[in-house]
């Protein structure tokens, strides 16, 4: 950041200031600064009433990591849920993107639109909708019972499976979009060339389409993995709050118990995990995965 600023001054580039200037300032003041504050607070000791004591210590981290706290377990659980969510999203999202891109014809825009639109509705409304559908007894259960597909209502709500289901429901569109973009970005003559060189459609898919959409896949993975990892509303509303993810613990410490320093340490640990995972994703997916985000 500093380097960028100095450089800007030195060059006094006429166009640089009005274009990247605002976002630099914005990011510095409203992204870096708050994160820095959180990191700083995480190294302060906590008083008995939750107040921050003016004393530097690693106490919070020690308590969290080695003090028998539930937090590391919650983080691992979150990663696990996010990973499963991610894989299922990929399993549904890739075929969807592929289908739209290949068979969409002139309805491509509409079909894509149909994927994105549900994500435009309010988060809480969507969770409520899902809850109403899969409830016990619920509409889905009634439907399946009437069809005779099941003999007794299945209980999906309030289980870890429900949490994963909710996460998939919320984040699926964000998997489809980047994959679709990278599928559309493939030069069609490459596909033709591979057919021409003797590749059957299946082989073509494996050797050309899949490797060329790697960026989209990892971009989508980043876009679904991170929010799923940090989610706290889905376990709260659809998981019956029986099992906590890392986000719930952070919210619990920050809001319910008012232990800001402790919550900051938790946030730092979770953020570090996330950054590490993003790094791995970008390394695996190449530069393109970053570009395909959004």
């Amino acid at each position: 950041m500093v380097a960028a600023k100095n450089d800007m001054k030195r060059k006094t580039h006429l166009h640089l200031l009005p274009t990247v200037g605002p976002i630099t300032i914005w990011i510095f003041f409203f992204v870096f600064a708050p994160v820095a504050v959180i990191v700083a607070i995480s190294f302060f000791a906590t008083g008995s009433g939750g107040e921050i004591l003016p004393r530097l210590s690693l106490e919070n981290y020690r308590l969290l990591l080695f003090g028998g706290s539930e937090y590391p377990r919650a983080v691992i659980r979150s990663i696990l849920y996010a990973l499963v969510t991610n894989l299922i999203c990929l399993g549904i999202g890739y075929p969807m993107a592929f289908w739209i891109s290949k068979y969409g014809g002139k309805f491509k825009a509409l079909l894509l639109f149909l994927v994105i639109v549900p994500s435009w509705s309010c988060y809480i409304v969507r969770i409520y909708a899902l809850k109403q559908l899969v409830g016990y007894p619920g509409i889905l259960n009634d439907f399946l019972l009437n069809l005779g597909l099941i003999s007794s209502p299945i209980n999906i709500l309030y289980t870890p499976a429900a949490v994963v289901l909710g996460l998939i429901y919320i984040w699926l569109p964000f998997m489809v979009l980047p994959i679709y973009a990278s599928l559309e970005g493939i030069n069609p003559s490459l596909l033709e060339a591979s057919l021409d060189l003797g590749a059957t459609p299946q082989w073509q898919f494996l050797t050309i389409t899949l490797p060329l959409t790697k960026g989209g896949i990892f971009g989508g993975a980043i876009l679904t993995f991170i929010p799923a990892l940090g989610d706290w509303l889905v376990p709260l509303l659809i998981g019956g709050n029986r099992v906590w993810m890392a986000g719930n613990l952070i919210e619990h410490y920050l809001v319910v118990r008012g232990k800001i320093a402790m919550a900051s340490s938790m946030a730092v640990i979770l953020t570090a995990t996330v950054v590490l995972l993003i790094y791995v994703f970008i390394k695996l997916g190449g530069e393109e995965s970053m570009e395909r985000i959004v």
């Binding site: 008995s48 377990r73 639109f113 809850k131 613990l249 920050l254 008012g258």
Partner: protein
């Protein structure tokens, strides 16, 4: 599609429309809605047995123009707010919190938040008092409260000295069963034993509150201890009970009403009045049966406090005085069916609401406990939080 999305005019039009709509509405919202009464008109219009606030309070409140409230969404009847706005021409700006802890955290981080009125619980009152963030109540400005609020709840354990709070409703936090699904003749029923040991009947059909102090407190009550206990041994026992119970709990849900109504949940731990008043929507016969364990339960008073930093504390007094007018208070109680400490509304409450809001046994309130500092500070809080974390894995 793309044509439409890329058409500049479409978006400028939609954007402009939304913006204009929002701005005009916000603008109109700030201007007082109705014609305000003068003090004389106000005094003259009061029903029998009600007293006006002093002129000083009235004038300050009206001059303030707006009144910032912080409470639950869609709980108290809307008429109360509408009536107040109409009568005094003071615009109510209402904010809603999803839970009281969240609201308290806001005050902790941002001490001088300009709310004039906050509907909250004893825990918040204790913390706010400790942080010196509460205004004292001016008793000269709330003659109706002085007249009608029962003496025994005026100066109660949550506000020794009766300086900072005014009680509105009193909830009994026990449990409710749905008699459509549960055999009402089970001898264990009104006792805590049924809630904590009746697995044979209600496996996976139980919902508990998502608040550690309430759940753990009621568990302690079941074991026969004080719900404010800080004794590690007693808390350990409570933990064992909850760990044993957890596989049979459907959810720790702060959104149980829909599930209860849909028949997903048969037993619900929580404020009983909520479900009883809900039952009137369930059909001709109310399927919900309140269970008040003989050992007593958690009593949860909803208290009005005035945070420091409010712009119009006079309006809060005016509102409290307005609320404690018997007709208005009856509207409140008929709407929420909670217990209360108002001594002048007895004839105005509907018969069935009386049934929903009072425990069957006279003097039951004395057996109940309010959450007090030992439970949510220091050692007590730490032990409870540890239990809670363990339960959520």
């Amino acid at each position: 599609m793309l044509k439409l999305v890329e058409n500049r005019k479409t978006w400028v039009f939609i954007g402009g429309l939304i913006f204009a709509l929002a701005v005009s509405f916000m603008g109109s919202g700030l201007v007082g809605s109705a014609q305000a009464k003068t003090y004389k008109q106000y005094v003259a219009s009061l029903p029998d047995g009600c007293q006006p606030v002093p002129r000083e309070c009235f004038e300050q409140a009206v001059a303030g123009k707006t009144f910032a409230m912080y409470d639950w969404a869609a709980w108290w009847p809307e008429e109360l707010y509408k009536g107040f706005e109409k009568e005094f021409g003071i615009k109510i700006v209402r904010d809603n919190y999803p839970n009281l802890d969240e609201a308290l955290a806001k005050f902790r981080l941002n001490p001088k938040t300009p709310y004039d009125f906050w509907l909250t619980n004893p825990k918040s009152v204790w913390y706010m008092k400790n942080w010196k963030l509460l205004e004292t109540v001016n008793h000269d400005w709330i003659p109706n409260v002085n007249r009608y609020l029962a003496g025994d709840v005026k100066e109660a354990s949550w506000d020794k000295g009766y300086n900072y709070t005014v009680l509105t409703t009193l909830g009994y936090d026990a449990y409710v069963i749905n008699k459509n699904f549960i055999n009402k003749d089970d001898s264990r029923i009104p006792s805590w034993k049924f809630l904590f040991e009746g697995w044979d009947v209600y496996k996976d059909r139980l919902v508990m509150r998502n608040e550690m102090n309430r759940v753990i407190g009621n568990t302690l009550k079941y074991l026969g201890y004080s719900l404010n206990s800080t004794n590690p041994k007693e808390l350990k026992e409570a933990e064992d009970v909850l760990v044993r119970l957890k596989p049979h709990i459907m959810a720790f849900n702060s959104w149980p009403k829909r599930a209860v109504m849909a028949g997903e949940v048969w037993i619900v731990e929580g404020v009983v009045h909520d479900y009883l008043s809900l039952g009137k929507l369930a059909g001709p016969e109310n399927p919900f049966v309140p269970c008040y364990p003989p050992k007593g339960c958690l009593l949860s008073p909803m208290l009005v406090v005035m945070p420091k930093g409010g712009n119009n504390p006079a309006a809060c007094h005016l509102f409290l005085n307005y609320l404690y007018r018997p007709d208005n208070f009856a509207t409140l109680i008929n709407g929420v069916a909670y217990g209360h400490g108002h001594t002048g509304v007895n004839g105005l409450i509907k018969e069935k609401v009386v049934k929903w809001m009072t425990p069957p046994e006279a003097g039951y309130r004395e057996k109940c406990e309010v959450l007090l500092p030992p439970a949510f500070t220091g050692q007590g809080e730490k032990l409870r939080a540890a239990i809670w974390e363990k339960l959520k894995k």
